[in-house]
């Protein structure tokens, strides 16, 4: 009986390992790369850009080439993103950023105060929760209006951009 109990544990354990692999949520492979998370759990790559940073007095101008992102969502879509992080939850969430850019003259531009950039105060508000083993699910706190956006972290130079269109305008 005791041996059968041990065997039962063994079988159940393998069953758990197997089922865990099948039902695993999508987790990004790469650190600090943002993905759009569809309601089905599938991930979609965003437009990866490294903005030019141009100091302008007390402000700094971020310029992303291209007036519009090729990655488009409808403002009616549920906006949730996922990013893999290596730091602790609190440290990582403090670095998350979402900016709205103005598209003009073939580029997307955003001017921010240097102090706000340094202290990460200029970001649109984001809510973050743990996702999978080492990722965060990031959701804008407010509905995103039509426009051009980039997600980033205050610790990296890359941005992960997308555009939001009014419903029916895609």
């Amino acid at each position: 009986m005791k041996l059968s109990f041990a065997l039962l544990i063994l079988v159940l354990s393998f069953g758990l390992v197997g089922s865990g692999q099948e039902g695993k949520v999508f987790e990004p492979l790469y650190s600090s790369v943002f993905y759009y998370l569809r309601p089905s759990g599938e991930a979609l790559e965003l437009e990866r850009q490294t903005p030019n940073t141009i100091p302008k007095g007390t402000k700094v101008l971020f310029v992303v080439p291209g007036e519009k992102s090729p990655v488009r969502f409808s403002s009616g879509d549920g906006m949730q993103f996922v990013v893999r992080v290596e730091e602790t939850f609190d440290k990582a969430t403090a670095t998350l950023q979402l900016f709205r850019f103005e598209g003009q003259d073939g580029a997307r531009r955003l001017a921010l105060k240097k102090e706000d950039v340094r202290k990460n105060r200029a970001t649109l508000k984001l809510n973050a929760e743990r996702y999978g083993i080492s990722s965060l699910k990031v959701v804008p706190a407010q509905k995103l209006l039509p426009g051009e956006y980039c997600l980033s972290r205050s610790t990296i130079t890359q941005g992960f951009c997308f555009g939001v269109d009014a419903p029916g305008n895609q």
Binding site: A6, L29, S31, S32, R48, N52, P55, E86, R153, I156
Partner: protein, 244 residues
């Protein structure tokens, strides 16, 4: 008398305790007057010591086996990977999984003055020598490995630059300042190499350049908190055109 999970609550040492024969495992035993006694080492009979039956031990062994197997399943992708011995040192990862050292350099921050500074200054990262002694071929996409201590983001800790050959050294501009010390319009983008980082082994990362590396000189610069002023450790290599 069953001693299954029996706790020895008293200090008096007994050299032998009566047990059921099927409960004896790992200890000397002998029969006396039709009863079986287990001879336990004196040290095993300290107060609070739990004596486990044979069944308990089989269960423990089964659980240990399960844990071992589960660990083995999870660790399959990390078990045999060669990781750098020292943190913050970058290696090239060859196709066989071997770590190949890069050219270890000190990256200096230098100021290039224009018209003795009246027209401003350009800050550059500079390393000695016009060419790295570590040469890679342009075909294929080289990958690199670095071990980072603590929970550090490799995209924050490592910077990847394409250097230019200038007057017997390698340099890359990292900032332009006007005569009043204000940073002027400057585009760093062309000099940086974007890369992805994926966990490698227990505490290392594999760095994968996003664009194909064109022939030229490259350095991976590590941002170290305790670095001396105006110096950073760099790990350099050159890419040669295919056929060179």
């Amino acid at each position: 008398m069953s001693i299954k999970n029996k706790r020895v609550l008293f200090r008096k040492i007994k050299a032998e305790i009566p047990v059921q024969p099927r409960e004896i495992i790992g200890y000397m035993s002998r029969k006396r007057n039709g009863r079986t006694f287990a001879a336990l080492p004196v040290g095993e009979l300290r107060p609070g010591r739990r004596i486990y039956s044979a069944e308990s031990r089989v269960k423990f062994a089964a659980v240990a086996l399960i844990l071992l197997l589960a660990t083995g399943v999870r660790g399959q992708d990390t078990g045999k990977l060669a990781e750098p011995g020292a943190p913050s040192v970058l290696f090239k990862l060859d196709l066989s999984g071997r770590l190949v050292p890069l050219e270890s350099q000190v990256v200096h921050v230098k100021h290039k003055f224009h018209a003795w500074g009246f027209s401003g200054v350009t800050m550059v990262y500079q390393v000695e020598g016009e060419k790295s002694r570590v040469r890679l071929k342009a075909e294929g996409k080289p990958e690199f490995v670095v071990r980072l201590e603590g929970k550090l983001d490799p995209l924050e800790t490592v910077q990847f630059y394409h250097f230019d050959k200038i007057d017997g050294s390698r340099a890359v501009p990292i900032g332009d300042f006007d005569a009043l010390g204000r940073m002027s319009d400057f585009q760093l983008v062309h000099a940086t190499v974007d890369f992805n980082a994926v966990k490698y082994g227990a505490s290392s990362f594999r760095l994968i350049p996003v664009p194909a590396l064109v022939p030229g000189e490259y350095c991976l610069v590590v941002r170290v908190a305790t670095k001396p002023e105006n110096k950073s450790p760099g790990f350099c290599f050159g890419i040669d055109a295919a056929g060179n």
